[in-house]
Symmetry: C2
Subunit: 248 residues, 2 copies
DNA sequence: GTTCGCGCTTGATCTAAGTCAAAGATATGA
DNA sequence: TCATATCTTTGACTTAGATCAAGCGCGAAC
């Protein structure tokens, strides 16, 4: 049913975020040379599983293009998405062999991977890599904690508004903003995936999106293309304080 | 209403977890010497706030004894606990000035603190510190993600069972286990704090604890002293798979 | 000892979100 | 073109947990 991932060519990773953002922001050229020997690229189609929870994981890597999700599943099938990986986000944990979560390609996906052992070795010898990784991990921890507030205390409507504003904030196309506060983007998630992220059912997601549309908070073109006429209004609906959830 | 924290004496931190666990597991003696110059100790009473979200935070540190909680609060007062800090857990973020969450002493608390600037400087020059901090942060991230499943998908009863098994697992007194699987510990949280951690109301927490008692999953002596006759049964009630939520 | 206060329990009722069910959009492929 | 499948919407009904409202138990202060 699912195809094997294909190996992508290095050219597809000209702007590899690991190289330029995660690891090597302050690296010396000779370190980049080392990097080239241990990195490779993988492509996945929407819906493919990158790795199953519990599987042995002999690489670490980061998202180049597309979106991946981390999900946890209980024996009875209840599932909770615990992370949304956008381009430049890091996957995998140096020092651990097994994957802790299912990683699934939510859209078509290109990842930039490093064989784990050499990566760990490189980390030992390159302090900046560990520092950069610490910084990224702390950002992820903050995101996870922000999400705990969403899951634990927000209403269904606030949850939807929170998700929309997070996607909008991280989506590059938000540069269509302009002075008006208007903002346009495409939802990269099905209603079911949104439900899994928000701890809701897909029916409730659908109803709340309809309600936000009815109330003029968002406009929809098709199922996925969203226009937010007033981002401040959306953030109010999300129950965030006026700074929009940006951390100091 | 709240007292100022008092400075504790170094003697109270003979087994300082930062020194022995977080930072200096592999440090050289001269590095320990440097450490001594920038670290100090603070004591708080149960209920005192260590730091408010948004405040300037000029230290990092870790819990020596007692329990602290990280909480987020919305304007209308809804609050969600996003982390429980037990002895040896680290607080604060190198590279950021403001606190992201309220930190509150849940029980009487002793913390071991480091002035931030010198700590950051030391981190630059001591790779093991960054590595150890990365490891700890990844552990916290895993804990946060495990908690997202609890908040998003578990029933009230499963939430209570999950919290009890987490506290039991981390509580030192669980060494009273023995071969029987019986396990005894004290709850370090009020019903309200449990509710804030679990995304429930305190009434629901109370009802579910009563129900678990009625069903023989736990026994209570007073409000806080808990006996778990069969830890496997508790984990089943938590909806965890048989490995008890331990990561590979 | 009595009274206060706080943390906790329990009951009655309400409601937001879940469940079950049907049907409307799009897209894919024969 | 029509059949099939997936994703989505909407409606009717149910329910887990919230809300509102008494009280209980127990230590601290008088």
């Amino acid at each position: 049913m699912l195809k094997e991932p294909t190996i992508a060519t290095p050219q597809e990773c000209a702007d590899c975020p690991i190289r330029h953002r995660a690891v090597c922001a302050r690296c010396e050229p000779q370190e980049l040379g080392l990097l080239e020997e241990i990195k490779y690229y993988r492509k996945f189609e929407a819906g493919q599983t990158v790795i199953w929870a519990g599987d042995r994981m002999d690489f670490v890597g980061s998202v180049v293009t597309g979106i991946a999700s981390l999900t946890q599943t209980m024996e009875d099938g209840r599932t909770q998405m615990v992370g949304l990986l956008l381009p430049s986000d890091f996957v995998g944990r140096p020092g651990r062999d097994g994957a802790a979560y299912d990683v699934v390609a939510t859209t078509d996906l290109v990842m930039c991977c490093f064989r784990k052992k050499p990566f760990e070795h490189m980390m030992e010898n390159t302090p900046h890599i560990a520092h950069r990784l610490l910084e990224m991990t702390l950002d992820e921890l903050d995101a996870a904690r922000e999400w705990m507030l969403v899951l634990g205390r927000k209403t269904a409507r606030e949850k939807i508004a929170s998700l929309l504003s997070i996607i909008a904030r991280r989506d590059a196309t938000l540069r269509q903003v302009g002075m008006t506060g208007t903002l346009v983007f495409d939802l990269p998630l099905t209603r079911e995936a949104m439900a899994d992220y928000l701890g809701l059912t897909l029916e409730t997601v659908s109803r709340q999106i309809s309600a936000l549309k009815r109330d003029g908070v968002i406009e929809l073109e098709g199922k996925r293309h969203v226009t937010v006429p007033d981002f401040v209004r959306l953030m109010e609906e999300a129950g965030d304080d006026s700074d929009g959830g940006m951390l100091a």
